[in-house]
Amino acid sequence: MQDDRPTPEQMLARLQTEGDDASAVKRRGKLKIFFGYAAGVGKTYAMLQEAQRLKAEGHDVVVGYVEPHGRAETEALLDGLERVPLRQVNHRGATLNEFNLDAALTRRPEIVLVDELAHTNAPQSVHSKRWQDVEELLQAGINVYSTCNVQHVESLNDVVAKISGVVVRETVPDDVFRRADELSIVDIAPDELLARLREGKVYVPAQAARALERFFRHENLFALRELALRRVTERVHVDVETARHGRGANDVWPTGETLLVCVEPSPSSASVIRAAKRLANAIQAELVAVHIENASTQKLSSESRNRLLNHLRLAERLGAETVTLAGDDLVEETLALARRKNVTKIVIGKSEATHRWFFQRLSITDRLIQDSGEIDIYVIRGKADGDSVESDSSAAHFATPFNAARSFEWVGTLGILGLATGLASLLDWLNTSEANIVMAFLLGVVCVALKYRRWHAVVASVGAVLLFDIFFTTPYYKVVVDDAQYLVTFVVMMFVGLIVTALTSRLRETLWQTQRNTRQTEALYQLGRKLSGINGQQFLASEAERAISELFQVQAIVLLPEDGMLRPVLHRGASFAANPSELAVARWAFVHEKIAGRGTETLTASQATYLPLLSPAGAMGVLAVQAEDVGPLFIPESRRVLEAYASQLALALERDRLAIEGQAATSSIEREQLRSTLLASVSHDLRTPLAVISGASSSILHANSKLDTATQRELLETIHEESDRLSRLVENLLRLTQLSSGRVEIIKEWFPVEELLGSALGRLEHSLGSRGVKVELVPSMLMAQCDSVLMEQVLINLLENACRYSPVGTAIEIRGHQQGKRTILEIADHGPGILKGDEERVFEKFQRGEQSIADSRGVGLGLAICKAVMDVHGGRITVSNAEAGGAVFRLELAADEMPPTTDENTENEHIGGIQS
């Protein structure tokens, strides 16, 4: 039982697969490809027939793009089908009709027909390839019908080229085929196809006529047909397998085996990669492409480097996972990776096994075979087919014109050899033994090896032997020796020189590697350290921008989402960041979580390159990088570092966001606590008046006849009073909720204090009863700048408080005066006053004064609301005890201007008679 338990890795893999499945099944549209072996087999016709059938069945079928090639039968089938308007692109004076992706996405049909999957879009299009358009449609949940020929399949590209002698440049990645939900073969016999060609039923563009003539040869067609049928058979096999395993069609392939292919800069590597892909397809294995970097790859010519990059991209297009590792020992690193990835087979090209060291006896292939253990090694004879590899004009141009420096190095080498010869002559003149002369030359060789490159040292070794032979052995000045003994000396000297060369050279490479790694690690560490100490998006973005600009000599701009729009955090005026079409590219990278823009496969026409900032929580934003030449950014090691920077920044941004969310969570917990305290406190205050109302009304209902009119009236009045109290309580609660949520909008205007008091007193008529209220305002037309509704509530609460905490029958005094721009109001009662030390506490939420007289009803909210209202007014509320006893509440309202003049005599035209 124990043995059957899945390993954690397996479980993780299964989880991921299931996760992919669930979401993919929900959203992704289905792709059906009508697959043929050559043009003219009737793919488009078959597709349209199917579309007509589906339309008749009531499906929402729309033509996205169909190329009828002027064939009447095909055009007839287009009748009655809705067409998405085409996009017209002006390219070098010619108008090209392109599939309109945006229109199709907006139309959102159930099924859209998009002919010619391998088509390359006109420049300035969103995607450079049509299959990328299709991919986006699928992602949007739209089903797509498309057509493709066998020669457009990426992994078959070189085989087709070999069969037909025609190199096809428009290819579709194997992954697109793998993920297609249905592959429908459209097949006719080659003879029939040729017949159709002769009858002119197959459209042949004039300029391609000759090439196609070669293409449409009988034997070619047979071979292509076989290739196509085999491909479909493979696919059927996979379908059967997946059906057997009860898995969804979009599932990843059974991951029993993993195949690893070594990617090299040599031209033959491309065909090795394709062969590996075909092998992987055949055995249903995943493919990993690896490139090991070391000092020598750094020294590659720009041409080789471009080739290497193209090979890595080819591997990516073929659906392989590409890995670039840094390491001195190619074999060791490859095998280590193979073990990490559970690789079962390694594919390596035969011709690339160049000897790196002069004396290294085993080739890389041999060493791989020797050390691979359980892993199978497939050695494939690669064929140079640089032709079929697209050369990418935007890829790196590494001109390293160090010619001057190089020739200087050679001069140096000669100089050192000269010095060694001089030293040898001196030793010879001193008549020391020949061994010492040899030592002098060896010293020279070591110096050259230390100072310059390997080839200098090799030349120095040979030169030293020659110099020794010419100047210090008999016969002098001739490249011959009489004594055979010297031959041994020469050979030993030569070998010692070369070993020293190799050793120093390796040392130097390791050193270079270490330095580079240290530099990158250091830079990354520095960035990480700095970012971890920074809070706030702006600061994070600015630090990352600075670090990236410095290291890569580019202009880096961080774009973050803001109200659903991506915007540069800083440098909003930067030329490219202000351009809406550039922002659209950034948006694409953000939404699709893929790199886009210049130097990539998507939206290449843009000015900058956009890297999504990916954190475990998804894309946090986009890093835009702009430089004169973006090539250097796409060297594997640079790109790796750039991506590391991007992910550092993404993590820092996520940390920042989590911190903010954490704060919000904390404050929401506090709010929650406040709310529950509020509820607990308020429920008591609610219950009391409710109990009175319910009790009084029930006694009227049940004992109606037994109660005299006076008692009845008394009870009814109680009900009315308690309802009033309840109503004010609800008002207070509402106000407090508004105030504490910060949603209160205050409208400050000038009000006569008398009027504010008037309406407050008017609403408290009942509670005040016969209590006297003395109002003393100086001047009598005292004004206050405030929100009348809120201030009325403050006054009501203070007056109610005064009523509650002072004996019935005692007066309440209200005094007010002006102090510059401030209006001061005091409300004094004749109660016991406030306890020492309680002056602040009474304004806290849910506090009630300790010495409430008998009647403890009322809300602990009143004074808290007063404080909150005064706070939003920018005013103050304080409480103290009057000398004569009783509490005095003091309100201070600050205005931003002097009160308006209230001179009542501005208008002298009186009417009426006697002055009162």
Partner: protein, 238 residues
């Protein structure tokens, strides 16, 4: 007079809370009014068009729509008095409803006395404007007597000296006694359409009027403040 006014008049109540409808039905019925009820804007509109009522009581917080839009619609073809009912913290809604053409408002919770007073005033003013009853030229409240024709104001027997604008303001309030007048409306009528934002003028004038006419200006009985909305002159006692 109350009986006269109430006699067989139809009151349309548009309110979604059944208990409030019940209370309105009972108290209005007891006063001799006929009551028609609806609980949504749609059914309310249907009800009004089927049998035009003499007054509409409209809750502003109906579930299926904006009460204000309904007022605007009704005002498109009818001058029937409308009294809106709203919660206390909705000053803006009240003002908006009044601006849209509502005649008065009631704040929940309200008492029957208050309701009947509003109804009475609204119906009377409606009749006045439609010319059924001639306007009373004298206003009386406690010791205050306002003679609109001769533009004189008396406190007990004493003539009160008012400025022209003070009198205009008081007269405007007196002609609409018992009804709420918004700040905007008063400013526009007395100071002209461009002065509607300088509401502190109005407040100062009202304060001055109170000083001249009220026994206790800080506890006014004559000119009542409707906080955040406007002013209301107490109903004439004649």
């Amino acid at each position: 007079m109350t009986d006269n006014l109430a006699e067989r008049r139809l009151i349309a109540v548009i309110e979604d809370e059944a208990p409030i409808r019940k209370f309105l039905r009972a108290s209005l019925g007891a006063e001799g009014y006929r009551v028609a009820e609806a609980d949504t804007v749609q059914s309310g509109l249907r009800m009004i068009t089927q049998e035009p009522p003499d007054l509409i009581v409209l809750d502003l917080g109906l579930p299926d729509g904006d009460g204000r839009a309904l007022i605007v619609e009704i005002r498109g073809w009818s001058t029937v008095p409308i009294i809106v009912v709203s919660a206390h913290d909705q000053e803006r809604e009240k003002i908006a409803a009044l601006d849209a053409g509502a005649d008065d408002y009631l704040t929940k919770p309200f008492g029957v006395g208050e309701l009947l007073a509003r109804l009475r005033v609204a119906i009377r003013h409606h009749n006045n404007t439609t010319g059924l009853e001639s306007l009373s030229q004298t206003y009386r409240h406690g010791p205050v007597r306002i003679e609109l024709g001769s533009r004189r104001v008396f406190l007990d027997q004493d003539d009160v000296r008012l400025t022209k604008k003070e009198f205009d303001l008081l007269a405007l309030l007196a002609r609409n006694a018992g009804r709420v007048m918004t700040h905007r409306h008063l400013l526009k009528e007395i100071w002209g359409p461009q002065s509607t934002h300088e509401s502190h003028y109005l407040r100062v004038f009202v304060a001055n009027l109170r000083k001249k006419l009220e026994a206790e200006p800080a506890r006014p009985k004559l000119i009542i403040t409707e906080q955040g909305v406007g002013y209301r002159l107490a109903e004439s006692e004649v």
